[in-house]
């Protein structure tokens, strides 16, 4: 429901639109444009973000590859093309003949390009170690996240089991509330020590035996397909809305059924 403060004589469409945009920003968290959102939605997460697709030996493999084939780098200066390791005087002759060489083509741009390339190679080597560090950190982080996801999954399973148990418990309490007229008041001790009624602690073995009998009868009623099931279903259209505490929508129906039901309802509450 919108909550714009509007008076028929004081409507300002621009102000309403500002409120609408503010609300959208609030929902999004960040004020992305529609195009930015589309772009973000279309981006595919890289494969390595999926822990199942991650190769466990990736870091090791990366390290080995780095060690086995170290990158070849060498310096390239303006004199490099004239050098000779076997005949050092050749360098002098080549330099002397350089003006003739320049009649055919200009070697200077080539020398410059190769010099730049050698600098690029050096930078790449330096960057590789940084890449290794980043990748190592990423793998560590992913492993940590993977463990955390597993923990959270287990926690969700545990919570859903507990929720399931609570729902069954709630249904059990509903059954107690919707007993037929004339039925004996139920013993709630099976539901937990705090639910035992005040008068229930008195009596001897006879009481214990009658309680056990009532428990058995109640179990029979709850068993699917047993005649007792029908009684619960027939308790009224609001039966499923009964709350565990006995504070129930079905109460008017229970009152119609007679004082016996009312008393069990009262006992439960």
């Amino acid at each position: 429901m919108s909550d714009f403060s509007v008076r028929s004589d004081g409507i300002d469409v621009e102000r309403i639109m500002q409120q609408i945009r503010a609300r959208i920003r609030e929902k999004r968290g960040v004020d992305y444009t529609e195009d930015e959102i589309r772009e973000l939605a279309s981006v595919k997460l890289d494969r390595f973000l999926d822990p199942k697709q991650l190769r466990s030996g990736l870091v090791e493999q990366f390290r080995k590859a780095r060690e086995s084939a170290p990158p070849e780098t060498y310096d390239f200066e303006d004199t490099t093309i004239y050098e000779s390791h076997r005949l050092p005087f050749l360098a002098t002759i080549r330099r002397l003949l350089n003006p003739i060489l320049k009649l055919f083509f200009n070697p200077n741009p080539i020398i410059h390009a190769l010099h730049l390339q050698s600098r690029v190679n050096k930078r790449l080597v330096a960057k590789e170690s940084l890449d290794y560090e980043v990748m190592s950190n990423l793998v560590l982080e992913l492993t940590r996240l993977s463990v955390e996801v597993k923990n959270l999954r287990m926690r969700v399973e545990s919570l859903s089991t507990r929720l399931d148990f609570d729902e069954r418990r709630a249904r059990a309490l509903e059954g107690v509330v919707q007993l037929k007229p004339g039925a004996l008041s139920p013993d709630l001790s099976t539901l937990g020590p705090e639910r035992v009624p005040a008068g229930g602690s008195e009596g001897g073995e006879g009481d214990a035996a009658s309680k056990a009998g009532r428990r058995r009868r109640r179990r029979r009623r709850r068993r699917p397909g047993s005649p007792g099931d029908e009684a619960v279903v027939g308790a009224g259209p609001h039966a499923s809305q009964t709350s565990p505490g006995g504070d129930t929508d079905a109460q008017p129906d229970a009152e119609d059924d007679g004082p016996g039901t009312e008393s069990s309802s009262g006992e439960d509450s």
Partner: protein, 443 residues
Amino acid sequence: MKLAVVVQRYGAEINGGAELHARYIAELLAARHQVEVLTSCARDYVTWRNDLPAGDDTVNGITVRRFETSSERDPIDFGLRSRVVFHEPHSLAQELAWLRSEGPTSPALVRYIRRHANRYDLLLFFSFRYYHAYHGIRAAPARALLVPTAERELAVGLSLFAPIFRGVRGIMYNSHEEQAMIRAVSDNAHVPGVVVGVGSKVPERTSPQRFRRTHGLSGPFIVYVGRIDENKGCKELFDFFLRYASARSRSLSLVLIGNSILPIPEHPRIRHLGFVSDEEKFDAIAAAEALVMPSFYESLSMVALEAWALGRPVLANGRCDVLRGQCIRSNAGLYYDTYEEFAEALLALTTDPALNEGLGARGRAYYRAHYTWPVIERKYQDMLERVSSDEAAAGESRLEPLPGWLARRHRTSPAATEVLARVPTGAVQVDRDGRSHVDRPRP
């Protein structure tokens, strides 16, 4: 005063926006003046085929002179020429060839205007973009008033139209945004101009219940009225509404009125009623929570005015400057640029009765102040008197002559897209003195 209304098509059954506008104005002015209509024999605005007989006719008491078109439009030729003039640098000769290809090419109509212009005190030309208006104004510039009905369309950026905007005696604009755009492309501030628009024949009483009963609609709905076309923003509307229906509302329906040239999604809450009578259309608008106008390009949107006349709010596409400006000036409609804005605005309109009624009330007041027939008539009358009393300009053409044969063939005209890109966007605000300015660029 003897007036001629010159329009591309004319007839009681022709319901295009500009054509209906021309008919309403002709019938309005006929109460005080002697009015004739000069038009083509075409009924179809795509082919301009000569469907109606040439010669004199009478429509609702107005004399109509029809002239044949010499050729039908060839869509392939028109498409190729459009690509050149809209997207590449080109020459004036290429623009003139584009105009001839667009049509309705009726040299007989232009010849008639040239020979008989002096029979009329003034000629009102409708729709600047067509052959009849360009050549008709060139044939009788000293008596020409223009009703451009211009949207933010590429044709506005063609260089052949700027002298027309500068050379007519007066211009009747549909909206402040249209005026700002035409002034930006042609620098025609010296030409007398007034923002008029057009009214509508809205019934005194409507019956929303009758519409609901007839179509079995019990829940709330929003309504779209018009041609169901991608150019009108309907594809985006379907997309947005389907998302809204699945995420936000379990009861709101979308009712579509008008002929469809776009596949309509099969969805239980989208109802297409096709073409309906005017009575049923007004009943539908009155029964709706709001009218939705998803169009990107509008020169006025008569249907939005009709919704406001009936006290219903409008949800408009904010990327259309005219609709955005109308919503802001009237304080009677919300607008959207994105799906989020569409959803929030629609939610506000459909769940906040105070807002809905407040916007509707402002819409009704806006319509009464600016678009009822007495207001429209007064503005036309003022302009006619102003132009006819300007004896200095009477009989004298300010229209720049066409360049020579060789100059027309120089490729000096920039692509229309470039020209239009330089025109400021955004809604126009009008201050108390009546001066208008572009409020802020559209995001």
